[in-house]
Symmetry: C2
Subunit: 294 residues, 2 copies
Amino acid sequence: MARTMSEDVLSHLGLSTTDDLVGMFKDVKFVCCGGSATRMENFAKFILKKLSSSHLKIDLPTEQNLRNICRTDRYVMYKVGPVLSISHGMGMPSMSIMLNEVIKLIRYATCTDVVFIRIGTSGGLGLAPGSVVITGEAVNYEFKPIYQLPVLGHMRSWQTTLSRDVAEAIKACALPDDGYDVVINKTMATDDFYEGQGRLDGALCDYTEEDKMDYLKEAYRNGVRNIEMESTCFASITSRANIKAAVVCVTFLDRLHGDQVTATKETVQQWQERPQQLVARYILKCLEEPQGMK
Amino acid sequence: MARTMSEDVLSHLGLSTTDDLVGMFKDVKFVCCGGSATRMENFAKFILKKLSSSHLKIDLPTEQNLRNICRTDRYVMYKVGPVLSISHGMGMPSMSIMLNEVIKLIRYATCTDVVFIRIGTSGGLGLAPGSVVITGEAVNYEFKPIYQLPVLGHMRSWQTTLSRDVAEAIKACALPDDGYDVVINKTMATDDFYEGQGRLDGALCDYTEEDKMDYLKEAYRNGVRNIEMESTCFASITSRANIKAAVVCVTFLDRLHGDQVTATKETVQQWQERPQQLVARYILKCLEEPQGMK
Protein backbone atom coordinates (compact mmCIF):
# COMPACT_ATOMS: atom_id res chain seq x y z
CA MET A 1 0.00 0.00 0.00
CA ALA A 2 1.43 3.34 -1.02
CA ARG A 3 1.56 5.00 2.39
CA THR A 4 3.26 8.07 1.01
CA MET A 5 0.18 9.23 -0.90
CA SER A 6 -1.56 12.24 0.60
CA GLU A 7 -4.97 10.85 -0.43
CA ASP A 8 -5.72 7.25 -1.32
CA VAL A 9 -8.87 6.83 -3.38
CA LEU A 10 -10.62 3.44 -3.21
CA SER A 11 -12.03 4.28 -6.58
CA HIS A 12 -14.41 1.37 -7.21
CA LEU A 13 -15.98 1.76 -3.75
CA GLY A 14 -16.16 5.53 -4.11
CA LEU A 15 -14.47 6.02 -0.72
CA SER A 16 -11.20 7.71 0.13
CA THR A 17 -8.83 8.39 3.00
CA THR A 18 -10.41 11.85 3.17
CA ASP A 19 -13.49 10.05 4.59
CA ASP A 20 -13.43 9.24 8.33
CA LEU A 21 -12.71 5.57 7.67
CA VAL A 22 -11.81 4.88 11.31
CA GLY A 23 -15.04 6.41 12.53
CA MET A 24 -17.08 4.65 9.88
CA PHE A 25 -15.56 1.16 9.95
CA LYS A 26 -13.37 0.58 13.05
CA ASP A 27 -15.74 -2.00 14.64
CA VAL A 28 -15.97 -4.26 11.55
CA LYS A 29 -15.26 -7.92 12.37
CA PHE A 30 -16.91 -9.75 9.46
CA VAL A 31 -16.77 -8.96 5.75
CA CYS A 32 -19.45 -11.00 3.97
CA CYS A 33 -19.54 -10.88 0.20
CA GLY A 34 -21.33 -12.42 -2.75
CA GLY A 35 -21.78 -11.77 -6.45
CA SER A 36 -25.25 -10.27 -6.53
CA ALA A 37 -26.06 -6.80 -5.20
CA THR A 38 -29.62 -7.81 -4.31
CA ARG A 39 -28.45 -10.88 -2.41
CA MET A 40 -26.01 -8.83 -0.35
CA GLU A 41 -28.67 -6.22 0.43
CA ASN A 42 -30.92 -9.09 1.55
CA PHE A 43 -28.13 -10.51 3.69
CA ALA A 44 -27.64 -7.10 5.33
CA LYS A 45 -31.35 -7.01 6.22
CA PHE A 46 -31.24 -10.63 7.39
CA ILE A 47 -28.22 -10.21 9.68
CA LEU A 48 -29.72 -6.95 10.97
CA LYS A 49 -32.84 -8.84 12.03
CA LYS A 50 -30.75 -11.54 13.71
CA LEU A 51 -28.50 -9.08 15.54
CA SER A 52 -31.47 -6.91 16.58
CA SER A 53 -33.24 -9.87 18.18
CA SER A 54 -30.11 -11.06 20.01
CA HIS A 55 -29.06 -10.05 23.53
CA LEU A 56 -25.89 -8.45 22.20
CA LYS A 57 -25.38 -4.78 22.92
CA ILE A 58 -24.37 -3.50 19.50
CA ASP A 59 -25.02 -0.20 17.79
CA LEU A 60 -27.27 -1.09 14.86
CA PRO A 61 -29.01 0.89 12.14
CA THR A 62 -32.75 0.54 11.68
CA GLU A 63 -33.81 -1.16 8.43
CA GLN A 64 -34.92 2.27 7.18
CA ASN A 65 -31.45 3.65 7.86
CA LEU A 66 -29.62 0.83 6.11
CA ARG A 67 -27.88 2.57 3.22
CA ASN A 68 -25.56 1.49 0.45
CA ILE A 69 -22.21 3.03 1.42
CA CYS A 70 -20.53 2.63 -2.01
CA ARG A 71 -20.57 5.85 -4.02
CA THR A 72 -20.22 4.09 -7.39
CA ASP A 73 -22.39 1.57 -9.23
CA ARG A 74 -19.64 -1.08 -9.24
CA TYR A 75 -20.54 -2.68 -5.89
CA VAL A 76 -23.00 -2.22 -3.05
CA MET A 77 -21.89 -2.22 0.60
CA TYR A 78 -24.02 -2.22 3.76
CA LYS A 79 -22.75 -1.98 7.34
CA VAL A 80 -24.70 -3.71 10.11
CA GLY A 81 -22.73 -3.20 13.31
CA PRO A 82 -19.66 -5.44 13.04
CA VAL A 83 -20.78 -6.91 9.70
CA LEU A 84 -20.04 -5.52 6.24
CA SER A 85 -22.20 -7.01 3.48
CA ILE A 86 -20.74 -6.24 0.07
CA SER A 87 -21.25 -7.43 -3.50
CA HIS A 88 -18.33 -8.42 -5.74
CA GLY A 89 -19.91 -9.00 -9.15
CA MET A 90 -19.15 -12.15 -11.14
CA GLY A 91 -15.70 -13.64 -11.61
CA MET A 92 -12.28 -13.22 -10.06
CA PRO A 93 -11.23 -9.98 -11.76
CA SER A 94 -14.34 -8.21 -10.44
CA MET A 95 -13.89 -9.77 -7.01
CA SER A 96 -10.18 -8.96 -6.80
CA ILE A 97 -10.85 -5.24 -7.22
CA MET A 98 -13.35 -5.32 -4.34
CA LEU A 99 -10.97 -7.35 -2.15
CA ASN A 100 -8.02 -5.03 -2.74
CA GLU A 101 -10.08 -1.98 -1.85
CA VAL A 102 -11.89 -3.49 1.14
CA ILE A 103 -8.63 -4.84 2.57
CA LYS A 104 -7.14 -1.35 2.27
CA LEU A 105 -10.33 0.02 3.85
CA ILE A 106 -10.14 -2.18 6.95
CA ARG A 107 -6.43 -1.42 7.32
CA TYR A 108 -7.06 2.33 7.18
CA ALA A 109 -9.93 1.85 9.63
CA THR A 110 -7.54 -0.03 12.00
CA CYS A 111 -9.90 -3.02 12.21
CA THR A 112 -8.53 -6.15 13.90
CA ASP A 113 -9.30 -9.90 13.61
CA VAL A 114 -11.61 -9.53 10.65
CA VAL A 115 -12.98 -12.72 9.04
CA PHE A 116 -13.97 -12.68 5.35
CA ILE A 117 -16.76 -14.98 4.18
CA ARG A 118 -17.96 -15.41 0.63
CA ILE A 119 -21.66 -16.36 0.52
CA GLY A 120 -22.20 -17.66 -2.99
CA THR A 121 -24.09 -19.73 -5.49
CA SER A 122 -22.61 -22.58 -7.51
CA GLY A 123 -23.18 -25.69 -9.55
CA GLY A 124 -22.88 -28.93 -7.58
CA LEU A 125 -21.26 -32.26 -8.45
CA GLY A 126 -22.96 -35.39 -7.15
CA LEU A 127 -24.95 -33.53 -4.50
CA ALA A 128 -28.68 -32.97 -4.16
CA PRO A 129 -29.48 -29.49 -5.52
CA GLY A 130 -29.89 -27.11 -2.59
CA SER A 131 -26.97 -28.65 -0.69
CA VAL A 132 -24.43 -26.27 0.82
CA VAL A 133 -20.71 -26.68 0.20
CA ILE A 134 -18.22 -25.06 2.54
CA THR A 135 -14.94 -24.95 0.68
CA GLY A 136 -12.30 -27.21 2.22
CA GLU A 137 -9.89 -26.45 -0.60
CA ALA A 138 -10.29 -24.06 -3.53
CA VAL A 139 -8.83 -25.58 -6.70
CA ASN A 140 -8.30 -24.53 -10.31
CA TYR A 141 -9.23 -26.31 -13.55
CA GLU A 142 -6.46 -28.89 -12.99
CA PHE A 143 -7.77 -29.52 -9.45
CA LYS A 144 -4.68 -27.81 -7.99
CA PRO A 145 -5.02 -25.51 -4.97
CA ILE A 146 -3.49 -22.50 -6.69
CA TYR A 147 -4.53 -19.13 -8.05
CA GLN A 148 -2.59 -17.79 -11.01
CA LEU A 149 -2.35 -14.23 -12.27
CA PRO A 150 0.08 -12.56 -14.67
CA VAL A 151 1.97 -9.75 -12.91
CA LEU A 152 4.41 -7.54 -14.82
CA GLY A 153 4.58 -10.01 -17.70
CA HIS A 154 5.12 -13.17 -15.66
CA MET A 155 2.59 -15.77 -14.56
CA ARG A 156 2.52 -15.82 -10.76
CA SER A 157 1.08 -18.61 -8.67
CA TRP A 158 -0.21 -18.50 -5.09
CA GLN A 159 -1.62 -21.02 -2.63
CA THR A 160 -5.35 -20.92 -1.97
CA THR A 161 -5.39 -21.18 1.81
CA LEU A 162 -8.69 -20.89 3.65
CA SER A 163 -9.33 -21.19 7.40
CA ARG A 164 -10.21 -24.76 8.33
CA ASP A 165 -11.32 -23.52 11.76
CA VAL A 166 -13.83 -21.10 10.30
CA ALA A 167 -15.10 -23.74 7.86
CA GLU A 168 -15.62 -26.25 10.68
CA ALA A 169 -17.26 -23.63 12.89
CA ILE A 170 -19.71 -22.72 10.12
CA LYS A 171 -20.48 -26.39 9.46
CA ALA A 172 -21.14 -26.85 13.18
CA CYS A 173 -23.93 -24.26 12.82
CA ALA A 174 -26.00 -26.65 10.68
CA LEU A 175 -28.95 -28.12 12.61
CA PRO A 176 -30.35 -31.63 12.16
CA ASP A 177 -33.77 -30.35 11.08
CA ASP A 178 -32.50 -27.79 8.54
CA GLY A 179 -33.42 -30.26 5.83
CA TYR A 180 -30.34 -29.92 3.65
CA ASP A 181 -26.81 -31.30 3.55
CA VAL A 182 -23.81 -29.20 4.48
CA VAL A 183 -20.45 -30.62 3.44
CA ILE A 184 -16.85 -29.44 3.54
CA ASN A 185 -15.26 -30.31 0.20
CA LYS A 186 -13.26 -29.00 -2.70
CA THR A 187 -14.59 -26.11 -4.78
CA MET A 188 -13.37 -25.54 -8.33
CA ALA A 189 -13.14 -21.93 -9.52
CA THR A 190 -13.32 -21.11 -13.23
CA ASP A 191 -12.95 -17.99 -15.37
CA ASP A 192 -16.06 -18.65 -17.44
CA PHE A 193 -19.55 -20.00 -16.83
CA TYR A 194 -20.12 -21.79 -20.16
CA GLU A 195 -17.07 -23.38 -21.83
CA GLY A 196 -15.02 -22.80 -18.66
CA GLN A 197 -17.41 -25.07 -16.73
CA GLY A 198 -17.91 -27.55 -19.55
CA ARG A 199 -21.46 -26.47 -20.34
CA LEU A 200 -22.99 -27.51 -23.65
CA ASP A 201 -25.51 -24.65 -23.78
CA GLY A 202 -23.28 -21.61 -24.37
CA ALA A 203 -23.07 -19.67 -27.64
CA LEU A 204 -19.87 -21.56 -28.49
CA CYS A 205 -19.12 -25.23 -27.86
CA ASP A 206 -16.80 -27.56 -29.78
CA TYR A 207 -16.84 -30.57 -27.46
CA THR A 208 -19.31 -33.37 -26.87
CA GLU A 209 -21.55 -34.41 -23.99
CA GLU A 210 -19.13 -37.29 -23.45
CA ASP A 211 -16.09 -34.95 -23.20
CA LYS A 212 -17.99 -32.87 -20.68
CA MET A 213 -19.02 -35.84 -18.56
CA ASP A 214 -15.47 -37.24 -18.57
CA TYR A 215 -14.19 -33.94 -17.18
CA LEU A 216 -16.92 -33.47 -14.58
CA LYS A 217 -16.46 -37.05 -13.37
CA GLU A 218 -12.70 -36.49 -13.14
CA ALA A 219 -13.40 -33.38 -11.06
CA TYR A 220 -15.69 -35.45 -8.83
CA ARG A 221 -13.03 -38.18 -8.43
CA ASN A 222 -10.60 -35.45 -7.39
CA GLY A 223 -12.94 -34.39 -4.60
CA VAL A 224 -14.59 -31.39 -6.26
CA ARG A 225 -18.22 -31.01 -5.11
CA ASN A 226 -19.07 -27.60 -6.51
CA ILE A 227 -17.99 -25.17 -9.22
CA GLU A 228 -18.11 -21.37 -9.06
CA MET A 229 -16.08 -18.44 -10.32
CA GLU A 230 -14.29 -16.83 -7.35
CA SER A 231 -12.96 -19.15 -4.62
CA THR A 232 -9.30 -19.54 -5.64
CA CYS A 233 -8.81 -15.78 -6.00
CA PHE A 234 -10.70 -15.13 -2.77
CA ALA A 235 -8.60 -17.67 -0.84
CA SER A 236 -5.33 -16.47 -2.29
CA ILE A 237 -5.82 -12.74 -1.73
CA THR A 238 -7.22 -13.10 1.80
CA SER A 239 -4.46 -15.50 2.88
CA ARG A 240 -1.73 -13.28 1.44
CA ALA A 241 -3.25 -10.44 3.47
CA ASN A 242 -3.25 -12.66 6.62
CA ILE A 243 -7.03 -12.67 6.80
CA LYS A 244 -9.01 -15.73 7.90
CA ALA A 245 -11.56 -16.61 5.25
CA ALA A 246 -14.25 -19.11 4.27
CA VAL A 247 -16.41 -19.80 1.21
CA VAL A 248 -19.98 -21.04 1.70
CA CYS A 249 -22.02 -21.74 -1.45
CA VAL A 250 -25.36 -23.31 -2.14
CA THR A 251 -25.61 -25.56 -5.22
CA PHE A 252 -28.44 -24.83 -7.68
CA LEU A 253 -28.18 -28.04 -9.71
CA ASP A 254 -26.16 -31.25 -10.03
CA ARG A 255 -23.93 -30.69 -13.06
CA LEU A 256 -23.66 -34.48 -13.49
CA HIS A 257 -27.32 -34.30 -14.57
CA GLY A 258 -27.51 -31.10 -16.64
CA ASP A 259 -26.44 -27.56 -17.38
CA GLN A 260 -29.54 -25.51 -16.56
CA VAL A 261 -31.35 -24.92 -13.28
CA THR A 262 -34.75 -26.61 -13.34
CA ALA A 263 -35.94 -25.67 -9.85
CA THR A 264 -38.62 -22.96 -9.58
CA LYS A 265 -37.70 -19.36 -8.86
CA GLU A 266 -39.19 -19.67 -5.36
CA THR A 267 -37.15 -22.79 -4.58
CA VAL A 268 -33.95 -21.17 -5.85
CA GLN A 269 -34.73 -18.15 -3.67
CA GLN A 270 -35.09 -20.37 -0.59
CA TRP A 271 -31.86 -22.22 -1.43
CA GLN A 272 -30.01 -18.89 -1.68
CA GLU A 273 -30.91 -18.20 1.94
CA ARG A 274 -29.21 -21.35 3.24
CA PRO A 275 -25.61 -20.06 3.26
CA GLN A 276 -26.94 -16.82 4.74
CA GLN A 277 -28.62 -18.72 7.60
CA LEU A 278 -25.45 -20.70 8.38
CA VAL A 279 -23.20 -17.65 8.25
CA ALA A 280 -25.61 -15.59 10.36
CA ARG A 281 -25.61 -18.32 13.03
CA TYR A 282 -21.81 -18.41 12.92
CA ILE A 283 -21.54 -14.64 13.32
CA LEU A 284 -24.00 -14.65 16.22
CA LYS A 285 -22.04 -17.43 17.95
CA CYS A 286 -18.75 -15.57 17.46
CA LEU A 287 -20.19 -12.43 18.99
CA GLU A 288 -21.88 -14.28 21.87
CA GLU A 289 -18.91 -16.55 22.67
CA PRO A 290 -15.92 -14.55 21.48
CA GLN A 291 -13.42 -16.84 23.23
CA GLY A 292 -14.47 -20.13 21.68
CA MET A 293 -14.92 -19.07 18.08
CA LYS A 294 -13.06 -17.82 15.05
CA MET B 1 -26.07 -24.10 -28.70
CA ALA B 2 -28.17 -26.99 -27.45
CA ARG B 3 -31.01 -26.77 -29.97
CA THR B 4 -32.68 -29.86 -28.60
CA MET B 5 -33.73 -28.19 -25.37
CA SER B 6 -37.44 -27.44 -25.12
CA GLU B 7 -36.70 -24.20 -23.23
CA ASP B 8 -33.39 -22.37 -23.17
CA VAL B 9 -33.00 -20.03 -20.22
CA LEU B 10 -30.57 -17.13 -20.62
CA SER B 11 -30.27 -17.20 -16.87
CA HIS B 12 -28.09 -14.15 -16.19
CA LEU B 13 -30.27 -11.96 -18.42
CA GLY B 14 -33.47 -13.37 -16.96
CA LEU B 15 -34.84 -14.07 -20.45
CA SER B 16 -35.79 -17.35 -22.04
CA THR B 17 -36.97 -18.87 -25.31
CA THR B 18 -40.46 -18.81 -23.81
CA ASP B 19 -40.29 -15.01 -24.30
CA ASP B 20 -41.09 -13.68 -27.76
CA LEU B 21 -37.42 -13.05 -28.56
CA VAL B 22 -38.09 -12.53 -32.28
CA GLY B 23 -40.78 -9.94 -31.57
CA MET B 24 -38.66 -8.22 -28.92
CA PHE B 25 -35.26 -8.18 -30.63
CA LYS B 26 -35.46 -8.97 -34.35
CA ASP B 27 -34.48 -5.44 -35.49
CA VAL B 28 -31.29 -5.22 -33.37
CA LYS B 29 -28.25 -4.17 -35.43
CA PHE B 30 -25.88 -2.84 -32.76
CA VAL B 31 -25.01 -4.33 -29.38
CA CYS B 32 -23.18 -1.69 -27.33
CA CYS B 33 -21.75 -2.74 -23.98
CA GLY B 34 -19.67 -1.41 -21.13
CA GLY B 35 -18.82 -2.33 -17.55
CA SER B 36 -21.01 0.11 -15.63
CA ALA B 37 -24.81 -0.18 -15.48
CA THR B 38 -25.20 3.59 -15.08
CA ARG B 39 -22.99 4.31 -18.07
CA MET B 40 -24.99 1.96 -20.28
CA GLU B 41 -28.27 3.48 -19.10
CA ASN B 42 -26.82 6.88 -19.97
CA PHE B 43 -25.73 5.62 -23.38
CA ALA B 44 -29.26 4.33 -24.03
CA LYS B 45 -30.67 7.78 -23.25
CA PHE B 46 -27.96 9.45 -25.34
CA ILE B 47 -28.49 7.28 -28.43
CA LEU B 48 -32.25 7.68 -28.00
CA LYS B 49 -31.82 11.46 -28.18
CA LYS B 50 -29.62 11.18 -31.28
CA LEU B 51 -31.94 8.76 -33.08
CA SER B 52 -35.03 10.80 -32.13
CA SER B 53 -33.56 13.96 -33.65
CA SER B 54 -32.45 12.20 -36.85
CA HIS B 55 -34.50 11.91 -40.04
CA LEU B 56 -34.57 8.13 -39.73
CA LYS B 57 -37.94 6.45 -39.52
CA ILE B 58 -37.39 4.09 -36.61
CA ASP B 59 -39.74 2.86 -33.92
CA LEU B 60 -38.33 4.35 -30.72
CA PRO B 61 -39.40 4.33 -27.08
CA THR B 62 -39.87 7.61 -25.23
CA GLU B 63 -37.33 8.26 -22.48
CA GLN B 64 -40.11 7.56 -19.97
CA ASN B 65 -40.70 4.17 -21.56
CA LEU B 66 -37.04 3.18 -21.61
CA ARG B 67 -36.93 0.14 -19.33
CA ASN B 68 -34.23 -2.26 -18.19
CA ILE B 69 -35.12 -5.51 -19.98
CA CYS B 70 -32.94 -7.80 -17.82
CA ARG B 71 -34.92 -9.61 -15.15
CA THR B 72 -31.91 -10.20 -12.88
CA ASP B 73 -29.52 -7.83 -11.12
CA ARG B 74 -26.48 -9.19 -12.97
CA TYR B 75 -26.68 -6.82 -15.95
CA VAL B 76 -28.90 -4.03 -17.29
CA MET B 77 -30.10 -3.97 -20.90
CA TYR B 78 -31.97 -1.22 -22.77
CA LYS B 79 -33.31 -1.40 -26.31
CA VAL B 80 -33.43 1.77 -28.40
CA GLY B 81 -34.70 0.79 -31.85
CA PRO B 82 -31.82 -1.11 -33.51
CA VAL B 83 -29.45 -0.50 -30.57
CA LEU B 84 -29.05 -2.68 -27.48
CA SER B 85 -27.17 -1.00 -24.63
CA ILE B 86 -26.06 -3.55 -22.06
CA SER B 87 -23.69 -3.65 -19.10
CA HIS B 88 -21.17 -6.47 -18.64
CA GLY B 89 -19.67 -5.83 -15.21
CA MET B 90 -15.91 -5.81 -14.69
CA GLY B 91 -13.51 -8.37 -16.12
CA MET B 92 -13.62 -11.08 -18.76
CA PRO B 93 -15.49 -13.77 -16.78
CA SER B 94 -18.38 -11.38 -16.14
CA MET B 95 -18.32 -10.16 -19.75
CA SER B 96 -18.14 -13.67 -21.22
CA ILE B 97 -21.39 -14.67 -19.51
CA MET B 98 -23.15 -11.64 -21.02
CA LEU B 99 -21.67 -12.29 -24.47
CA ASN B 100 -22.68 -15.95 -24.50
CA GLU B 101 -26.25 -15.10 -23.55
CA VAL B 102 -26.62 -12.06 -25.83
CA ILE B 103 -25.19 -13.98 -28.80
CA LYS B 104 -27.73 -16.73 -28.14
CA LEU B 105 -30.39 -14.04 -27.80
CA ILE B 106 -29.70 -12.45 -31.21
CA ARG B 107 -29.55 -15.91 -32.83
CA TYR B 108 -32.92 -16.86 -31.38
CA ALA B 109 -34.27 -13.46 -32.46
CA THR B 110 -32.98 -14.14 -36.02
CA CYS B 111 -31.07 -10.83 -36.10
CA THR B 112 -28.67 -10.32 -39.03
CA ASP B 113 -25.48 -8.26 -39.52
CA VAL B 114 -25.20 -7.22 -35.89
CA VAL B 115 -22.10 -5.24 -34.86
CA PHE B 116 -20.86 -5.44 -31.25
CA ILE B 117 -19.10 -2.43 -29.75
CA ARG B 118 -17.56 -2.21 -26.29
CA ILE B 119 -17.65 1.36 -24.95
CA GLY B 120 -15.22 1.35 -22.06
CA THR B 121 -12.87 3.11 -19.72
CA SER B 122 -9.16 2.36 -19.39
CA GLY B 123 -5.76 3.49 -18.27
CA GLY B 124 -3.66 5.06 -21.03
CA LEU B 125 0.03 4.70 -21.87
CA GLY B 126 1.80 7.79 -23.19
CA LEU B 127 -1.44 9.55 -24.16
CA ALA B 128 -3.02 12.70 -22.76
CA PRO B 129 -5.73 11.62 -20.27
CA GLY B 130 -9.11 11.92 -21.96
CA SER B 131 -7.79 10.49 -25.26
CA VAL B 132 -9.82 7.78 -26.92
CA VAL B 133 -8.24 4.49 -28.02
CA ILE B 134 -9.99 2.34 -30.61
CA THR B 135 -8.47 -1.10 -30.30
CA GLY B 136 -6.44 -2.08 -33.36
CA GLU B 137 -5.33 -5.28 -31.70
CA ALA B 138 -6.31 -6.70 -28.31
CA VAL B 139 -3.31 -8.29 -26.59
CA ASN B 140 -2.61 -10.20 -23.39
CA TYR B 141 0.05 -9.61 -20.69
CA GLU B 142 2.79 -10.86 -23.04
CA PHE B 143 1.54 -8.47 -25.78
CA LYS B 144 0.26 -11.43 -27.80
CA PRO B 145 -3.09 -11.17 -29.66
CA ILE B 146 -4.62 -14.18 -27.91
CA TYR B 147 -7.28 -14.98 -25.35
CA GLN B 148 -6.73 -18.06 -23.20
CA LEU B 149 -9.26 -20.01 -21.19
CA PRO B 150 -9.10 -23.48 -19.64
CA VAL B 151 -11.80 -25.72 -21.13
CA LEU B 152 -12.33 -29.29 -19.84
CA GLY B 153 -8.94 -29.27 -18.13
CA HIS B 154 -6.86 -27.94 -21.02
CA MET B 155 -5.70 -24.38 -21.68
CA ARG B 156 -7.24 -23.21 -24.94
CA SER B 157 -6.02 -20.27 -26.96
CA TRP B 158 -7.94 -18.16 -29.52
CA GLN B 159 -7.08 -15.24 -31.77
CA THR B 160 -8.42 -11.82 -30.80
CA THR B 161 -9.74 -10.61 -34.13
CA LEU B 162 -11.62 -7.31 -34.29
CA SER B 163 -13.07 -5.57 -37.35
CA ARG B 164 -10.53 -3.13 -38.82
CA ASP B 165 -13.34 -1.67 -40.97
CA VAL B 166 -15.51 -0.84 -37.99
CA ALA B 167 -12.52 0.61 -36.11
CA GLU B 168 -11.61 2.87 -39.06
CA ALA B 169 -15.23 3.89 -39.55
CA ILE B 170 -15.54 4.89 -35.89
CA LYS B 171 -12.25 6.80 -36.04
CA ALA B 172 -13.54 8.64 -39.11
CA CYS B 173 -16.39 9.95 -36.93
CA ALA B 174 -13.95 12.10 -34.91
CA LEU B 175 -14.23 15.81 -35.77
CA PRO B 176 -11.33 18.27 -35.81
CA ASP B 177 -12.89 20.44 -33.08
CA ASP B 178 -13.78 17.61 -30.70
CA GLY B 179 -10.74 18.62 -28.66
CA TYR B 180 -9.34 15.16 -27.97
CA ASP B 181 -7.16 12.61 -29.74
CA VAL B 182 -8.61 9.41 -31.18
CA VAL B 183 -6.07 6.73 -32.05
CA ILE B 184 -6.22 3.15 -33.28
CA ASN B 185 -3.68 1.15 -31.29
CA LYS B 186 -3.11 -1.94 -29.22
CA THR B 187 -5.13 -2.50 -26.05
CA MET B 188 -3.86 -4.81 -23.31
CA ALA B 189 -6.46 -6.76 -21.35
CA THR B 190 -5.69 -7.98 -17.82
CA ASP B 191 -7.45 -10.14 -15.23
CA ASP B 192 -6.83 -7.75 -12.35
CA PHE B 193 -6.82 -4.00 -11.82
CA TYR B 194 -4.04 -3.74 -9.21
CA GLU B 195 -1.16 -6.26 -9.48
CA GLY B 196 -2.44 -7.38 -12.90
CA GLN B 197 -1.87 -3.85 -14.24
CA GLY B 198 1.33 -3.22 -12.29
CA ARG B 199 -0.21 -0.77 -9.84
CA LEU B 200 1.66 0.02 -6.64
CA ASP B 201 -1.43 1.07 -4.67
CA GLY B 202 -3.28 -2.24 -4.21
CA ALA B 203 -3.57 -4.13 -0.93
CA LEU B 204 -0.75 -6.44 -2.04
CA CYS B 205 2.39 -5.47 -3.94
CA ASP B 206 5.82 -7.13 -3.88
CA TYR B 207 7.50 -5.23 -6.74
CA THR B 208 9.05 -1.81 -7.02
CA GLU B 209 8.19 1.37 -8.89
CA GLU B 210 11.14 0.56 -11.17
CA ASP B 211 9.78 -2.95 -11.97
CA LYS B 212 6.43 -1.41 -12.78
CA MET B 213 7.87 1.28 -15.05
CA ASP B 214 10.03 -1.28 -16.88
CA TYR B 215 6.91 -3.30 -17.69
CA LEU B 216 4.72 -0.37 -18.68
CA LYS B 217 7.48 1.00 -20.94
CA GLU B 218 7.87 -2.45 -22.51
CA ALA B 219 4.11 -2.47 -23.16
CA TYR B 220 4.43 0.98 -24.75
CA ARG B 221 7.33 -0.15 -26.96
CA ASN B 222 5.13 -3.06 -28.07
CA GLY B 223 2.48 -0.63 -29.23
CA VAL B 224 0.09 -0.84 -26.27
CA ARG B 225 -1.64 2.50 -25.66
CA ASN B 226 -4.28 1.52 -23.13
CA ILE B 227 -5.01 -1.16 -20.54
CA GLU B 228 -8.42 -2.49 -19.56
CA MET B 229 -9.94 -5.80 -18.48
CA GLU B 230 -12.09 -7.14 -21.30
CA SER B 231 -10.86 -6.62 -24.87
CA THR B 232 -9.15 -9.96 -25.60
CA CYS B 233 -12.15 -11.97 -24.42
CA PHE B 234 -14.54 -9.64 -26.26
CA ALA B 235 -12.57 -9.94 -29.51
CA SER B 236 -12.17 -13.69 -29.25
CA ILE B 237 -15.79 -14.55 -28.48
CA THR B 238 -17.28 -12.19 -31.08
CA SER B 239 -14.92 -13.34 -33.83
CA ARG B 240 -15.56 -17.02 -33.04
CA ALA B 241 -19.27 -16.23 -33.39
CA ASN B 242 -18.62 -14.46 -36.74
CA ILE B 243 -19.67 -11.10 -35.35
CA LYS B 244 -17.95 -7.85 -36.36
CA ALA B 245 -16.75 -6.03 -33.27
CA ALA B 246 -14.87 -2.98 -32.04
CA VAL B 247 -13.58 -1.68 -28.70
CA VAL B 248 -13.61 2.07 -28.00
CA CYS B 249 -12.23 3.23 -24.65
CA VAL B 250 -11.43 6.58 -23.13
CA THR B 251 -8.26 6.80 -20.99
CA PHE B 252 -8.64 8.27 -17.50
CA LEU B 253 -4.94 8.73 -16.75
CA ASP B 254 -1.49 8.14 -18.20
CA ARG B 255 -0.15 5.11 -16.35
CA LEU B 256 3.42 6.23 -17.16
CA HIS B 257 2.75 9.06 -14.68
CA GLY B 258 0.78 7.36 -11.89
CA ASP B 259 -1.77 4.83 -10.68
CA GLN B 260 -4.68 6.99 -9.52
CA VAL B 261 -7.02 9.26 -11.47
CA THR B 262 -6.39 12.89 -10.50
CA ALA B 263 -8.96 14.56 -12.76
CA THR B 264 -12.11 15.92 -11.11
CA LYS B 265 -15.34 13.91 -11.09
CA GLU B 266 -16.88 16.34 -13.61
CA THR B 267 -13.94 15.99 -16.01
CA VAL B 268 -14.01 12.19 -15.75
CA GLN B 269 -17.75 12.31 -16.47
CA GLN B 270 -17.16 14.38 -19.62
CA TRP B 271 -14.37 12.02 -20.76
CA GLN B 272 -16.70 9.03 -20.35
CA GLU B 273 -19.00 10.57 -22.93
CA ARG B 274 -16.36 10.70 -25.66
CA PRO B 275 -16.55 7.03 -26.78
CA GLN B 276 -20.35 7.34 -26.59
CA GLN B 277 -20.31 10.38 -28.92
CA LEU B 278 -18.07 8.62 -31.46
CA VAL B 279 -20.10 5.42 -31.39
CA ALA B 280 -23.39 7.31 -31.64
CA ARG B 281 -22.10 9.15 -34.75
CA TYR B 282 -20.99 5.83 -36.24
CA ILE B 283 -24.38 4.22 -35.61
CA LEU B 284 -26.21 7.21 -37.13
CA LYS B 285 -23.97 7.08 -40.21
CA CYS B 286 -24.54 3.33 -40.61
CA LEU B 287 -28.29 3.79 -40.44
CA GLU B 288 -28.28 6.81 -42.76
CA GLU B 289 -25.85 5.36 -45.31
CA PRO B 290 -26.31 1.60 -44.95
CA GLN B 291 -24.35 0.82 -48.14
CA GLY B 292 -21.10 2.57 -47.27
CA MET B 293 -20.68 1.53 -43.68
CA LYS B 294 -20.06 -1.46 -41.45
